[in-house]
Amino acid sequence: MSVAVSIMLSTILASALIGLLAAKLRVKALRADTYIVAGRALGTLVYFLNAAAAIYSGYTFLGGAGYSYKFGAAAIFMWATSLLGYVVGYIVAPYIWSVAKRNNLLTFSDYIMWRYGSRVLMVLAAAISVIFNVPYVQMQIRSVSILLDLCSGGAVPALHVAALSFLLVVLYVFLGGMISVAITNVFFGALMLATMFGGSLAVILKYFGGLPGLYSAVESVSPAHLTLGLRSEAWFISTIIGTALNFWVWSTRVQLLYTARDVRVLRRGMALLSWYIILGTVWITHVGLAALALGLKLRDPDYAFARVVELAYGEVALGLVAAGGAAASLSTAAAILLDQASTTARNMIEPLTRARLGDRGLVAVTRILVLVYGAISTVLAYTSPGLLVDLYLLSASGVLQLFPALIVGVFWRSLSKLEVIPGLVAGEVAVVVLYALKLEPYGVAYMMWGLLVNVAVILVVYAARRLAAGIK
């Protein structure tokens, strides 16, 4: 076994051990709020690193460099997505958190139920959150598999080992819930930042002496990579708006907000997370340019970060970067798994069967569902690997349609379920149709067309209701 594979696998095993030990540390484990949102007790450091690790997936870790290698400056949209996301988060998260704390909300769909008083909308939001997150978990398993393949040169049965690593994650999520996820993610979050910042900086300084040197080198190889020309400007602008608005409507991220001890922790967390982007994503994007300037011919653009680091510093460095990538993937998978399971138990099974699960019952059903969703994602990673990127874009577009329900509803007090439900349905239909026809009219991303249809329907229904009320 190569040094790089050993480092990567040791990291995965160490993290699983941390997760399992954390499960032993838990207090009042059968309380639903302890299992699902860590008792709303996380302080700044744990909240910050847990959120960072859960939000930054393997797709971001590998894709940051991969996207700039392929599309040049268009990759800057990734910086905007997160930084504008944190601005929105800073403004709305304290309100959502305080509602959740006061009403003992545990999931994103709980908030929708509280805000609109509609079971239909709650179940719809839960279904969208759960279904559109399935490919996202599957994608994390594939990311670990890609990294293993890269480190071992094909000598290790990568997908089998990745699936096994994921099952270790399923085990600690099953046992310890959010407490295990959070404590493991402290380790993962720190490792990711160290590898992203350290790896990128080391490469750029070694080969180019700094950013101006890197840009000059890229200019001599492919000047188009320094511009937005490899994607259209309309695409760049619409994707920034779409993905930044989309940032908080992933149900996992809303659930993470609930874990904060108080509003100060949340606000401090948003500020720290924004600096995480400056030290992580901004630098890692430049590594894609470095790979290009160094003339690397990559089988897959997502190999850019690992390949450049290996070229510069050898196998140990490759192992560390791969470990960081695995950390990014598994931490995201763990948080999503818990969110999918708790959302299904609380917002789908409980209302649809009209059963009252109670605190212990909710934890028990959530635990069973952690195993079920873990198994589904593992099977899908084997059976439909080719669909991943496409499905991710569809997922992001699908969950964006929840934006009016969550964020606009905070500002627009008279917005009701009567507008939100038809808007949501119309937005989802528009997304699926445009996706199926592979259409992006005027170069604008189809997620934005879905949102436009969604908002238009909301405004029309609202105006019609006002008009009808006026006539009466």
């Binding site: 800073y90 958190w97 950013l211 920034i240 924004s274 905070v410």
Partner: protein
């Protein structure tokens, strides 16, 4: 003021949010000129690196102002 009202987004925060969205999107078309450089860095990249740092500073300042206001 109830605790829920206390945490409702304020108008000035919304204005900051809209301004930042505008700064991240509107100038993209104007700055996409690889031959124009600032300190050896293409102006598009320079602008977005500076804007990234500025956005983080804005969030940090909003937090610090909030804390000071509470004291």
């Amino acid at each position: 003021m109830s605790s829920l009202e206390e945490y409702k987004p304020r108008n000035w925060e919304l204005v900051v949010c809209v301004v930042l969205f505008a700064l991240w999107t509107v100038p993209a078309v104007l700055l996409d000129k690889p031959d124009v450089k600032v300190l050896g860095v293409p102006v598009l990249w320079f602008y977005y690196i500076a804007l990234s740092v500025a956005t983080s500073l804005v969030i940090t300042l909003m937090y610090l102002v909030e804390e000071r206001w509470r004291l």
